[in-house]
């Protein structure tokens, strides 16, 4: 075997046993290091011990905004009778997880959707960078869902069809100012014993921020 190889012209590259072992060891070390990279998977979020979600209350609860008319009712159920005039709105919590805004609108001016007992509700996250929008707190004279972080504004009277990044089509309040890339999703509502409840089927829409 060696005699045969030695007989070949010198220009042909030969690998001696030392080089062979060196290559093998290098490849082995490189492979081991690379396979250890897979341990980085452990950095990804785990499903955790969250457990099954039980029955969740759909009724909106008043939010924690300071200086608003509902501040002293923070955490209590949102009632239809509280919205006694057009333009009255409140920041609310929904299903213990989402922020939302409920507004009494002038139904004759509302375009693109219909109100329920004069009320409409929107997810309060700003589609820009997920700050929580407010109603009449920063811009008391403008009927917009206003985001404090980068001055985004959504028009609750102009409901348009928009598309999420994943292609889901939805209805939402049109962006009229600032950097938000898409409309603020509407939350379908129902009045249950005088309380206002959000009844969306596809919650994926409201998980936009995480």
């Amino acid at each position: 075997m060696t005699e045969k190889a030695a007989g070949k012209p010198k220009s042909r590259r030969r690998i001696d046993r030392r080089q062979f072992v060196q290559t093998l060891v290098s490849l082995g070390i490189a492979g081991t290091v690379l396979s250890f990279l897979s341990l980085l998977m452990s950095l990804l979020p785990s499903a955790g011990a969250g457990g099954e979600e039980g029955e969740v209350d759909n009724v909106f609860k008043y939010g924690p905004e300071k200086g608003a008319w509902y501040s002293d009712r923070s955490g209590t159920d949102v009632k239809l009778e509280d919205f006694d005039q057009v333009g009255k709105g409140a920041g609310v919590l929904w299903r213990g997880k989402y922020s939302a805004i409920v507004i009494r609108v002038d139904e004759s001016k509302l375009r693109g959707a219909t109100a329920t007992s004069g009320l409409v509700a929107f997810a309060a996250f700003c589609t820009h960078l997920c700050c929580i929008s407010t109603w009449h707190l920063d811009r008391p004279n403008e009927d917009v869902l206003f985001c404090r972080c980068h001055d985004g504004a959504f028009d609750p009277y102009n409901i348009i069809k928009d598309t999420m990044l994943n292609g889901t089509e939805y209805l939402g309040a049109q962006v009229i100012a600032g950097p938000p890339p898409r409309a603020a999703p509407i939350i379908p509502i129902e009045i249950q014993d005088g309380k206002v409840a959000g009844v969306a089927k596809d919650l994926g829409l409201y998980d936009y921020c995480g």
């Binding site: 980085l40 950095l43 990804l44 979020p45 939010g63 924690p64 905004e65 920041g91 919590l93 922020s99 820009h128 960078l129 997920c130 700050c131 929580i132 407010t134 707190l137 920063d138 985001c147 404090r148 972080c149 980068h150 001055d151 985004g152 928009d162 598309t163 990044l165 100012a177 600032g178 950097p179 938000p180 890339p181 898409r182 921020c209 995480g210």
Partner: protein
């Protein structure tokens, strides 16, 4: 002492290293306090050469105070939104009950602010002086990456008290990170353990802040300083002449490290320490309300050195509005043209230009006064960062000066466009004339 040194040397054989170090260190910083030029105000002559040593001093101070704070801080954010978590309570405890706790935290807080300020001066000055010529590209690269590290430090540290400001500043940053095209969500999940802030995020941030970043910083900054010692600093413009890589000049500018160079370092460090102590003792910022994910605070702003990026995002949104540009929902399956992604891409491009300066700018000339275009671009960049910072404060200025937000935005938005150009243009015109004159004279 000598016997101890000999004992160590006998085991580690460090004397050749020490000898080389002693030779190198005398080229570390220029000093006019030499036999040739006995100016007593040597450290005023080349003050900017010493800004780096202020950064180093502050970094050490941050290490010491951070170590002390870590003994009393609890990185736990479990709890209902809006209620104080253990992290929040432990910071309150440091501020109220830990002996000298408030002072230590004050020093750490102001040390971080001054460190970034000193670092910005260090970086801009280096930009104008083009010290990244052949042989020194690596110093520049390490420096630019260290700048990023400093920002990562401050970002992770800002969140630790788990108060409203830190929480929302971090929320915005996380969402910005998520909107990096294609890989954003994956990066956010790997770094933060999720796509929103949670107790897991706090623990990770704490880990980065006190463990991972220090190790990386010591290696990178150590290499940065080692390179300065081995290569010497690039010479001041007055003695500058084109030369080959690695060559250095044992000129009259370099006094001995001890004492000519170290004295200004010590003086500056003491002055810095004095400032930090005063600010830390009398102007420490207490944590605001506990973090509440259901409520964005009214005037939300990141730390002052991130304001330009915050302003950039606002400004792009305003610009779109002014020109009535409605970006398409998706381009190639991502929202490429939305204001936030455009803002991110602009900021990323700026950092990339900074990192790649040694590749972009390869000429021989280093004197800022002979580089009209580059100097003008640098001035423009400073103008842009300052005006964007101003734009970030539009809400606060509007309510403070009671100017309607629309006109405020119009005023500030135009300032962002006009002022940097107006400031930079004369530099370009005058320096170009100067450069033409200079070159004819030399010829």
């Amino acid at each position: 002492m000598k016997r101890l040194y000999e004992w160590i040397d006998g085991r580690f054989n460090i004397s050749p290293l020490i000898a080389e170090g002693q030779r190198s260190i005398n080229f570390a910083l220029p000093s006019t306090y030499t036999r040739q030029n006995k100016s007593k105000i040597f450290w005023l002559t080349y003050p900017y050469y010493y800004v780096g040593s202020i950064v180093a001093f502050l970094a050490i101070l941050q290490g010491i105070t951070g170590l002390l704070l870590a003994f009393n801080y609890v990185p736990s954010a479990v709890g209902d939104p809006g209620t104080p978590t253990e992290a929040y309570l432990s910071v309150e405890n440091i501020m109220k009950f830990v002996p000298l706790g408030a002072l230590i935290r004050g020093i750490h807080q102001w040390g971080a602010n001054l460190l970034v300020a000193a670092l910005a001066i260090h970086a801009f000055w280096a930009f104008f002086r083009s010290p990244y010529r052949v042989g020194r590209e690596l110093s520049w690269l390490l420096g630019a990456v260290s700048l990023g590290l400093a920002l990562a430090y401050s970002f992770s540290g800002y969140l630790l008290p788990w108060d409203q400001l830190g929480y929302w500043a971090a929320t915005i940053s996380v969402q910005i990170m998520r909107s990096i095209p294609v890989v954003g969500d994956l990066i956010a999940q790997l770094l933060l353990g999720g796509t929103t802030l949670s107790p897991v995020t706090l623990v990770r941030m704490y880990y980065y802040h006190v463990s991972l970043l220090p190790v990386v910083a010591i290696i990178l900054v150590g290499a940065h300083i080692l390179l300065v010692l081995l290569q010497g600093v690039s010479e001041p413009e007055e003695v500058w002449k084109p030369r080959k890589a690695g060559q250095r000049q044992a000129g009259p500018l370099f006094g001995l490290f001890l004492p000519q160079q170290i004295i200004p370092v010590l003086i500056l460090s003491l002055v810095t320490l004095g400032i930090v102590l005063l600010l830390g003792a009398f102007a420490v910022q207490v944590p605001g309300d506990p973090a509440n994910k259901f409520l964005t605070p009214q005037f939300i702003a990141p730390e002052w050195y991130f304001l330009w990026a915050y302003g950039l995002l606002k400004w792009v949104g305003w610009l779109y509005e002014v020109v009535h540009f409605v970006p398409p929902a998706t381009v190639f399956g991502i929202d490429l043209l939305s204001a936030k992604v455009v803002g991110i891409l602009i900021a990323a491009a700026m950092f990339l230009v900074l990192v790649l300066m040694p590749v972009i700018d390869r000429g021989d000339e280093v004197r800022a006064l002979r580089r009209p275009l580059k100097t003008a671009v640098g001035v423009w960049a400073i103008g842009l960062l300052s005006t964007l910072t101003l734009y970030a404060l539009n809400e606060i200025l509007s309510s403070y000066l009671s100017i309607p937000i629309g006109s405020m935005n119009l005023a500030l938005g135009s300032i962002v466009v006009i002022v940097p150009v107006v400031v930079a243009a004369p530099f370009f015109v005058i320096l170009r004339r100067h450069a033409v004159k200079g070159s004819t004279k030399e010829a």
